[in-house]
Amino acid sequence: MIGTQAAPPPRPRRPLARALLPDAVRNAPLLATAGLGVAVLVLIPLGYLVVRAFERGTDTFAAHVFRERTFDLLLRSLTLAAAVTLACVVIGVLAAWLVVRSNLPFRGVFAVLFTLPLAIPSYVAGFTWISAWPGLAGFPGAFLVLTLVSYPYVLLPVMAALRSTDPALEEVSRSLGHGPVRTFLLVTLRQARPAALAGALLVALYVLSDFGAVALMRYEAFTVGIYTSYRASFDRTPAAVLGCVLVLLAVIITVAERRARGKAALTGQARVGAGAARQPDIVPLRRARPLALLGSVGLLAVALGVPLASLGRWLVSGASAQVDVGRLLSATWTTVQVSALGAALTVLLALPVGVLVTRYRGSFSRGIELASYAGHALPGITVGLALVFLGVRVVPGLYQELPMLVLAYAVLFLPLAVGAVRTGIAASPVRLEEVSRSLGKGTTITRLRVTLPLAAPGIAAGAALVFLTAAKELPATLLLRPTGSSTLATELWTLTEVVAYGAAAPYGAMLILIAAVPSVVLGHKLRSRGRDSEAGG
């Protein structure tokens, strides 16, 4: 049997030890080691979960997994994730197309405003809706709130993709007699597909891990099951078992997304390079223009208007409540600091992963990328407790100190940065790196002086996304912050818990303001990147 197969000739000549090593390890040992290190770091929570889930034996584990309630929770979370993801893709792609490729009036303003819901924490949005319309409790409310806060995860990459795709294909389509709608469906959508799928993955994982919105809407999703286990029975085993299932789910979804995305994402139709940029055509909306405008305003009214209006009402009602300016500023500064450090570390960890998956494709790189997504599907409390468990045993000196909190953000939000960095690096031509090396520069120098600057926009986008997400993070922050220090999110929690909404309003407003800065920059930059390039080149 074996003799009949044609073996690839070069293989047998390699020394066995080398042949066993993945390409990435052989060709870039330093990078591969760094990637491996990142994978180990972000798999810490998973290790903890396994320890906790199996501490009472496999029987207990199986008993918790195979019961109706677990199945119910799973079904509810999956239904919600599927519905929200679908809605986010539809809204995100349409909105991105409108602001990048149509003649929608004020599309520059819309581009920025559309990204702003990213700045609104799901628990603030959830609270706003449920207090105004208690009838929304359950699936409708959870679906609405999560869709409104997470569609920008699709919008942003699709905006970038539409901005940088080659208009030539659309021109071909039109020259073949296809109308604008057919061209949109056949060509534009296809070009945006990898970006939309990457965004969809982030949305799906985010929905699985969110606790704030589902808890407020009293929709019993997986994370509610996990929290209930801590809160109701003070039992960490069922929570860990559910956490393991959640990680498994995340792996399945991530693999599925990669299959669906295919090779398009990595090679991409995205032509890069500043000089070659060509402004894509603007498609006239004609009669659909008022409808598009109405839709855009409507989206903003529900996604931004509703939460901001209720925040405004709190501010007014709390005007009499004294605002402790010192406390507000101190919380603001801490928030900026921990979020910026979190963003910096996350991007730093995302760099080797991003380079590996774009430049050294193979199962090794794929495995590391997959690992980097594990933490994103877990609720903050699980990752927080994992680091409590480990921190207090392994690095007691750092426990409840700043580095531990920053590490938690990195574990939780690494995929946000990996996605952006990957896109950034994929968009910088390999040839420039080859030129650099042909000029006698080493690989590391080339990476630092050629790859990194070229990928800078992607890296900056990743950092911005992590920054604003970390600023909103609550459960892990509560567990890991240095004793006595507070962020805007923890202060907001403290005050809303005692129903002091007036006093809480300034913290909510400040949090949204701080998170809005990076999202405005993201929205503005991604929309106008092509134009910048033309001006610069």
Binding site: Y230, R231, A274, T483, G484, V498
Partner: protein, 355 residues
Amino acid sequence: MTRQAFRRLGAVAFAAALFVVLVACGTDVTGDTGEQAAEEGGGQSTLTIYSGRNEELVGGILEHLEDTTGYEIEVRYGDSAELAAQLLEEGDRTDADLFFSQNAGALGALREAGMLRELPERTLEVAPERFRASDGTWVGTSARARVVVYDPDQVDVDDVPGSIDELVDETWEGEVGYAPSNASWQSFVTALRVLDGEQAARDWLMDFRANEPEAFESNTPILEAVDSGEIALGLINHYYHQAWVTERGAGAVNAERHHPDGGDALGLVNVAGVGVLDTSEAPEAAVHAIDFLLSGTAQQYFADETAEYPMRQDVTSTRHELGELDELPGPDIDLSRLSTLDDTLELLRDVGLSS
């Protein structure tokens, strides 16, 4: 080099510089612990308190504790259950000396894990027996009562339900407000199970549900709805109503409260409490801190600031009309038995009242 390349390099350089600055400033946040180390070197006691009670509620009295005792106090605020989970993960390596909990359940979880130290009798006996652990590992610091608030325009004071059976009378169809996700409502249901048994609790919940109660997000909206006459009755904790009355003046609040006197779960009196971690390196100081929380000063603070019932008989609120704790007609129940919340949640799910 193009302008754009310059800009990109500039952005990277800026990010790097920002990182350095932030790391340098990072020492600000952790500066506290530097002082702490210095204090320990100096031989003065530092007490670390994990507080599941909100900073807005107890921040003032914990500062007072620092001034009075001279101990360096570090407080870590969080949700009671999540702090309990954190303490369980930290195990014997925890820095915490005291756990100040919003409810008896979280303290019970630590007690079961053997993480709490037995308190001296002298400390325990300040609180009435039903408001402390039977094995002396924790003691209540203040109490809260479940009450029925009603709209006097719609309901005569004599007709206000005083027992669970009266509450499910068909008169009140669509007129009762409750907060399904609220911890105090869930404690009430747990008490119902503990006092009357699983089947009776299930039957009662079915009756309650059949009466089409109105679900609210939390206690305050219930109070608002009763106050405006939107619904006739509401199930809340006493201090929400009392805080309103004190804030606005008795004349400005329409809703009134009634303490159910049927001796069943409807009038449950629950407790916030405190325990000392077994691993505390300063157990005497920790007990001293508990003594302070049970002292006249602190008890007066709870009675005045949080409108809760003090543990001490000799303390009367100067701001709120509270009445006497031992005159509350609540049920006779071992509070540590309220820790079976998971069974309660399952029952509520079964009955269809959890959402």
